[in-house]
C-alpha cells in the first residue's frame, strides 16, 4: 500500500502531539432508533489504543445519523464516549462541540495519552459540504491527521478530505489500512483461480463492477436478483422475475465479451413463490408464515412465479466453484434473506466460507452492506469468516476500480516512514539427521523471518561407551569411531544445508560436539547469544504417546531465548519414535 499508516510514523512524531483520528460509528437506523455500530467502533480500537500507548493527545472525530447540519439531541455522541471509555479502560472525555473556543481550550489542556471525543461532526453543515473553513477549524485542533473510517472513504467530507490540506502528515489508521490491504490482495494480485460471486440487486451499480473484475476473474457466478436479467438475455423462462429491460442490451454485450475471458455461471435452480401471494405477504408487513415455495429449474419457472432464493443444486455448484478456488470474492446476498426460509442459500454459502474456505488458505473477501447484514443476522460466528469488510459503498467503489477520495487525500510520502528496526537474528538449529530436525530446517524460512539471519548448526553426538573419560582403551577403535562420527556429521550437515539452500539460506557456522544434547544445545545457544533455538518434534503419535522428546522439553524449560518447536505432520512421520534433537 502506498499510503502512510499511522504506525509507520516515527513515534516522536506522535508522542505529546495532538492527533486527530476520524472514526466511523454510524449504523443503519434500526427500529429502536439510531444506535451506533459497535463493530465499527471496535475496529478503531487498535488505532486509539496505539496512540494512547505512544503518548499522543488523541482528538477523535465521528458522526452519527443524518442530523442535516444542525444539533439533534438524540444524535449526540455521549454514548459513544462512554462505550469507548469502557472498551479502552481509560476515560474518553466528550465535548459538547466540535469546533470553537471550547474544544480549543480542552485540547490545549490535554496530557500525553489523553483521549477526547468531539461532538457529532454532522451537526455542522461544513462536514458534508467538505467545507474548507470547517476543515481548517478542525485542523487547528491537531498536529497529525489519521483516518480510520473505511466505511466513509467513498465520501469527500471536511473531516476526511479537506482537512488533509491543512494537516501534515495525514496517515491511514490501522483498520483502514487493513481493509485496503485486503482489497489490494484480492484485486491487485489475486491468487488464481479467482472466483467471483456477485449477487444482490441494483444491476446498474453492479455492471461496472462486473466489467472491472472481468479481466481478473477466472470464474464468475452471477446470482441474486442480478441473475434475472442475465437469464433473460439467455432467453430462459424465469416467470415473474423482475428484469431490467433498459440494461438488457448492456448485459448481452457483457455476456458476449465475458465468453472469451471467463466462465460465467448462472443459477441452475430457484426457490419460487406465487407472485401474488408474495406481494400480499409483503403488503401485510411480513406477518404470519411466508408464502409456500416450490423448487424450479432456472429454465422452467412458470408465469406468476417469482424466484426468491437459489436452490440446492446452485448451492452445490457454488461449493464446487469454491473447492478449486484460491481467491474468492463475494458481494451481495443470493436471495431475499430477510424472510427466513429464503435466506437459506446465502446462509449455506456463508457457512461454507466459514467452515471450508476460511480454514484453508484460500483468500476470501466478502463485501456489501446487505450481505454483511444478512450474515450478521444468521448468528454465525462472523469472526471466523475471512474477510468481511466493514464498508459497503467504499467496497463497491474499489471493486469497480474507482479511487476513494478519503484515501487519495492521505500522504504517501515514504520519507515519513520510520525504518523498521532490523538486526541479524542468530538462529541455532540443532540437527541430528532425523526427519524432525530436517523438517525444522525445511520450515525455517516459512515460520521465521530469516532475512539476514545468522544460522548456526549444531550436531550433538553421544559420547562413545568404550571411552572412559577422555582415555580410549583401544586406539584403533578410537580412530574408526572418529571417522564414523565425522562422516555422520557431514551427512547431517549436507542434508540440512541442502534444505536451507532451497530456501535461499546459508549457514554461518556448523559445529559437532559430544555430550548430553540438551545441555550442549543450551550451552552453545548462550555462547553465540542465540535469539532463537529451532527444534524438530513429533506431532501426536497416538499409540506410542511420544508427545515431545525429553531434549525439547529440557531446552524449552531452560532456554534464555524463544524456542520454536517445529512439528512434522503425522502423515509425514517416517520414523516414529526416533530420538529427536
Amino acid at each position: 500500500m502506498d499510503k502512510v499508516v499511522i504506525n509507520q510514523l516515527p513515534v516522536e512524531k506522535l508522542r505529546g502531539r495532538r492527533v486527530f483520528v476520524r472514526i466511523d460509528v454510524d449504523s443503519e437506523p434500526s427500529s429502536s432508533g439510531v444506535l451506533f455500530d459497535e463493530s465499527k467502533l471496535r475496529s478503531s480500537l487498535p488505532t486509539l489504543e496505539y496512540l494512547r500507548g505512544v503518548g499522543s493527545r488523541t482528538v477523535i472525530g465521528a458522526s452519527l445519523g443524518k442530523p442535516g447540519g444542525r444539533v439533534v439531541e438524540s444524535l449526540r455522541l455521549d454514548p459513544v464516549a462512554e462505550r469507548l471509555s469502557r472498551m479502552l479502560g481509560s476515560p474518553v472525555r466528550k465535548l459538547g462541540e466540535a469546533i470553537g473556543r471550547d474544544p480549543q481550550g480542552a485540547v490545549a489542556g490535554m496530557r500525553d495519552g489523553d483521549l477526547l471525543l468531539l461532538e457529532n461532526l454532522r451537526f455542522y453543515p461544513g462536514e458534508d459540504a467538505n467545507d474548507a473553513d470547517f476543515a481548517r477549524e478542525l485542523a487547528e485542533l491537531c498536529d497529525v491527521y489519521c483516518n480510520d473510517a473505511f466505511a466513509l472513504a467513498n465520501l469527500a467530507l471536511a473531516s476526511t478530505v479537506s482537512i488533509t490540506r491543512y494537516v501534515r502528515p495525514a496517515a491511514a489508521g490501522l483498520a483502514l489500512a487493513r481493509e485496503l490491504m485486503m482489497f489490494e490482495a484480492a484485486l491487485d494480485q489475486p491468487d488464481p483461480p479467482f472466483v467471483g460471486l456477485i449477487a444482490g440487486a441494483r444491476l446498474e451499480e453492479k455492471l461496472p463492477i462486473l466489467e472491472n473484475l472481468l479481466p481478473r476473474l477466472n470464474r464468475l457466478f452471477i446470482g441474486g436478483a442480478l441473475a434475472f436479467t442475465f437469464l433473460e438475455a439467455k432467453r430462459r423462462d424465469i416467470g415473474s422475475a423482475p428484469v431490467d429491460k433498459a440494461l438488457l442490451p448492456l448485459v448481452k454485450d457483457f455476456l458476449k465479451k465475458a465468453e472469451k475471458e471467463v466462465e460465467v455461471i448462472l443459477p441452475e435452480d430457484f426457490i419460487t413463490v406465487q407472485v401474488d401471494e408474495f406481494r400480499e405477504y409483503e403488503k401485510s408487513g411480513r406477518i404470519g408464515p411466508p408464502p409456500e415455495w416450490r423448487l424450479e429449474l432456472e429454465n422452467g419457472i412458470p408465469p406468476f412465479y417469482l424466484p426468491v432464493d437459489v436452490g440446492p443444486a446452485t448451492v452445490n455448484r457454488i461449493k464446487g466453484l469454491f473447492e478449486g478456488a484460491r481467491t474468492i470474492l463475494w458481494n451481495g446476498p443470493l436471495g431475499v434473506w430477510e424472510i427466513e426460509p429464503f435466506g437459506a442459500a446465502t446462509r449455506a454459502v456463508a457457512l461454507l466460507i466459514m467452515e471450508r474456505v476460511s480454514p484453508r488458505r484460500q483468500r476470501s473477501l466478502l463485501c456489501g452492506d446487505s450481505l454483511a447484514r444478512a450474515i450478521r443476522s444468521f448468528n454465525l460466528p462472523v469472526e471466523l469468516i475471512r474477510h468481511l469488510t466493514t464498508g459497503g459503498e467504499p467496497a463497491l467503489q474499489l471493486l469497480a476500480g474507482n479511487p476513494l477520495p478519503a484515501v487519495s487525500a492521505l500522504d504517501n510520502e515514504l520519507d515519513l516512514v520510520a525504518p523498521i528496526e532490523t538486526r541479524p537474528r542468530r538462529i541455532l538449529l540443532p540437527v541430528d539427521g532425523s526427519e524432525h530436525s530436517l523438517e525444522a530446517a525445511r520450515k525455517l524460512g516459512r515460520l521465521i523471518d530469516v532475512e539476514g539471519a545468522e544460522i548456526s548448526l549444531l550436531h550433538v553426538q553421544k559420547p562413545e561407551a568404550f571411552a572412559v573419560g577422555d582415555v580410549w582403551i583401544d586406539q584403533d577403535a578410537k580412530h574408526l569411531h572418529e571417522i564414523r562420527r565425522r562422516r555422520e556429521a557431514e551427512r547431517v550437515f549436507d542434508i540440512t544445508n541442502t534444505s536451507l539452500a532451497q530456501q535461499g539460506l546459508t549457514v554461518r557456522q556448523q559445529l559437532t560436539v559430544e555430550g548430553d544434547p540438551a545441555s550442549e544445545i543450551l550451552r552453545f545457544a548462550d555462547e553465540i547469544g542465540a535469539d532463537l533455538i529451532v527444534m524438530g518434534s513429533h506431532g501426536r503419535t497416538g499409540v506410542l504417546r511420544v508427545l515431545m522428546g525429553s531434549v525439547s522439553r529440557k531446552v524449552l524449560d531452560r532456554a534464555k531465548c524463544p524456542v520454536l518447536i517445529v512439528r512434522i505432520p503425522d502423515r509425514r512421520m517416517v520414523e516414529v519414535g526416533t530420538l529427536e534433537t
Binding site: A177, R178, R326, R360, R361, R425, R567
Partner: protein
C-alpha cells in the same frame, strides 16, 4: 485471465495464532511473534477465556446478556492492547477471536480450525498446547527476558 495462469504456485501467507489471556505475559508473546515471524504472516489474536466450554456443552447454562456484554468489553480491551503492541512493531493483526473453555483445548481447536501453522505461546501458556499441537509452536520460555518496547 487465461487458464494456464492457474498453475502458478500459490503464495500462501503463513497464519500465526497468538493466544491471549489478558495477563501481562501476553505482551511477551506479541513481541516474540513480532520479532521472529515473517513480515508477511497473518497474525490472528485469540482471547482464550477460561470457563465452561460453550461450544462443547451448548446446553450448559448460557451466560446472561449482561455477562456476555461485560466479557465482550474485556476481550475488546485485551485486543486493543495486543493490536497496539503489534502496531508498535509495524504490524497489523488479520483477525481476532474469542472463545471460552479450557484454554489449551480452545487454542488447539481454533488452531486446527483455522489451519494455523504456528502458535506463539509464553512460558505461562498452557503446556498441553506445546505437547499436543499439530502445528509448530514458538515459545517464549521462562528464561526469556523480553525487552518490552515502551509503548
Amino acid at each position: 485471465m487465461i487458464e494456464t495462469e492457474m498453475d502458478v504456485i500459490p503464495r500462501e501467507l503463513p497464519r500465526i495464532l497468538i493466544p491471549l489471556s489478558g495477563a501481562d505475559s501476553d505482551a511477551s508473546a506479541l513481541h516474540v511473534a513480532a520479532d521472529m515471524a515473517p513480515r508477511d504472516a497473518e497474525f490472528f489474536l485469540l482471547h482464550a477465556r477460561s470457563g465452561p466450554d460453550e461450544e462443547r456443552y451448548p446446553d450448559f447454562k448460557r451466560a446472561s446478556e449482561a455477562e456476555r456484554f461485560e466479557r465482550g468489553i474485556e476481550s475488546e480491551r485485551i485486543f486493543a492492547r495486543a493490536n497496539a503492541i503489534l502496531a508498535s512493531r509495524g504490524l497489523i493483526s488479520a483477525g481476532q477471536l474469542v472463545a471460552q473453555g479450557a484454554p489449551a483445548e480452545i487454542i488447539l481447536r481454533v488452531a486446527n480450525r483455522m489451519a494455523a501453522e504456528l502458535i506463539v505461546l509464553t512460558a505461562s501458556g498452557p503446556r498441553r498446547v506445546i505437547e499436543h499441537a499439530t502445528c509448530s509452536v514458538l515459545v517464549a520460555g521462562p528464561g526469556v527476558a523480553v525487552k518490552l518496547a515502551k509503548i
